[in-house]
């Protein structure tokens, strides 16, 4: 199994965090992983993209050029992602912010209202975690069966109070697809 994913959004949406956590979870499940970020110099609002690969085998190029799945967190990222996903691949769209339909018809388009679901839990900042739940469910690349202990080892103690809402966000994402 090799799942190559391309994640794109704007700075501040948690694109980089989503990518990092995705590969961290994969690593904890015994997979080979690689994460390569690309972001602008801006603190917020610039482009944020990440190439992530999880695999049962040695990973060749860390750069994802033809992803099996792509995550579109905002409107600007749709054309970039739609352009590169392999035929028959998954296009996961944050339908809270992306209001246009993808043009390609050979993709499996999954719409997740990430911002709305995150707001319902109480914090729009965990929209990225909603998307991660959806990504895990549709690709099956990461099981996420030990999510809570893994989150505890990923985040420093001072952030552990946010874990329940993050868990709820991942679950909401899984349930939404």
């Amino acid at each position: 199994m090799t799942e190559k994913t391309f994640i794109a959004g704007f700075g501040g949406q948690g694109v980089i965090s989503l990518g990092q956590l995705w590969v961290y979870l994969g690593m904890k499940e015994g997979l080979q992983v690689t994460f390569f970020p690309f972001y602008g110099a801006e603190k917020r609002g610039g482009v944020a993209r990440a190439s992530v690969i999880v695999s049962t085998d040695e990973i060749a190029s860390p750069l994802v050029t033809t992803p099996d799945s792509a995550v579109v967190m905002n409107m600007d990222s749709l054309p970039i992602c739609e352009d590169i996903v392999k035929s028959g691949g998954y296009l996961l769209v944050n339908s809270s912010l992306v209001k246009v339909e993808p043009k390609r018809t050979d993709l499996k388009v999954i719409k997740v209202p990430c911002n709305e679901l995150a707001e319902k839990i109480g914090d729009v900042k965990i929209a990225n975690m909603v998307m991660m739940g959806a990504l895990a469910k549709v690709t099956g690349a990461i099981k996420m069966d030990k999510l809570e202990p893994v989150l505890k080892s990923f985040f420093p103690e001072s952030k552990h109070r946010f874990i329940p809402s993050n868990l709820a966000a991942v679950k909401a994402g899984m349930d939404a697809v």
């Binding site: 190029s61 860390p62 750069l63």
Partner: protein
């Protein structure tokens, strides 16, 4: 107990491996894409009561390394391409003074200030002795975060043993990406090799003064010391060459690539094999000493070669020297911070094989 696997950036893994190898003095100056390395050292060297100095420039950082190395400390500096250019004078002096030191280049694209995206166009500078004079030093090229940590750790030992600096030539992608890494064990500092040649602390030891210098104004003496150094180089070339081969034995075409280019080429190889094309991969791990003997051997077996680099073609010259006209050597490269894709490398291989 075995260390746990950790998710780290290449830059951070290099820094932590250096600390564990017993780096006692680090001198740096910020530059993208190696900043996490300096930042990590700032946090963790001081925690351990070791020396961390952010110098006022790269020139000053390498000369601080020169001083600390002369005093017998395991010392290190890191930078990225334009910064490493500035360090070349110091590296030449350190080589001329026969001192150990570790220099990390997380290379970006050039020339000049160039860009901050990954590049491999510092191959000539790294492997040919980028400063003035007759000298070489170790150049180790990692392909992953794990190897970046392992080679950095080893670089300190190699450098100590041979009294020759060791350079880690990574690129911005190796530095910036995150992968799982199992870090090497903490080195017992009391068991590091003795440095009878080091300066300082002379009165206490009651020994004669040690001079560490690269100057010698007597031509015959200077020639003898350069020749002695070249005898060490010859021994290194005999014993310390390292490379990795993937499906080379039955290959019609052998891709030669290091670092990130080797990762991309491995992907191209896997696709080629699926299509029934006999493509292999030869990955030099030591860029100096370069694995020239093995390449010559492969050329003798009728292989042809394709060098893949993130440059306009630098390592390809070493491949051609090694092969010495016995086999065709082609080149594919991207530059300016562009990373070649697996499809592009596969297309280049197909074109050569006519399939």
């Amino acid at each position: 107990m075995a260390e746990d696997i950790r998710l780290m950036k290449g830059n951070e893994a290099i820094a932590e491996a250096a600390i564990r190898a017993g780096c006692r003095a680090y001198f740096g100056y910020p530059i993208t894409p190696q900043n996490e390395l300096t930042a990590y050292m700032a946090r963790h060297m001081l925690d351990r009561k070791r020396t961390f100095i952010q110098a006022e420039s790269e020139v000053s950082a390498i000369n601080m390394v020169y001083g600390a190395a002369a005093a017998g400390a395991r010392s290190m500096t890191s930078s990225s391409s334009p910064g490493v250019s500035l360090k070349q004078e110091g590296i030449s002096y350190i080589c001329g003074a026969d001192l150990p030191a570790v220099i990390v280049n997380v290379a970006r694209s050039g020339p000049g200030l160039g860009g901050i995206s990954p590049g491999q166009a510092d191959y000539f500078q790294s492997t040919r002795g980028g400063g003035h004079g007759d000298y070489y030093h170790f150049v180790l090229a990692p392909k992953s975060v794990q190897e970046a940590a392992d080679l950095t750790y080893e670089a300190f030992d190699l450098s100590d043993e041979w009294r020759i600096p060791a350079m880690i030539l990574a690129d911005g992608l190796i530095g910036q990406m995150m992968e799982g890494v199992v870090l090497p064990a903490e080195r017992d500092l009391s068991k590091l090799p003795k440095r009878s040649w080091a300066v300082g602390n002379q009165a206490k030891q009651g020994r004669p003064i040690n001079h560490v210098s690269s100057i010698n104004l007597v031509p015959l003496e200077l020639e003898a010391s350069v020749r002695a150094r070249f005898e060490r180089y010859a021994k290194i070339k005999e014993t310390l060459v390292r490379f990795e081969e993937t499906q080379v034995e039955d290959a019609d075409l052998v891709i030669v690539a290091y670092g990130t280019s080797a990762r991309v080429s491995l992907g191209a190889l896997q696709e080629a094999r699926k299509a029934g094309l006999k493509v292999g991969l030869f990955r030099p791990i030591t860029l100096w000493p370069f694995p020239e003997k093995r390449l010559a051997e492969l050329a003798g077996k009728g292989k042809r070669f394709l060098a893949v680099e993130m440059s306009m073609g630098q390592m390809v010259e070493d491949v051609r020297l090694a092969v010495n006209g016995k086999a065709p050597v082609d080149f594919y490269g991207r530059c300016g911070g562009v990373i070649p894709t697996e499809d592009e490398v596969l297309a280049a291989a197909r074109k050569i094989l006519g399939k």
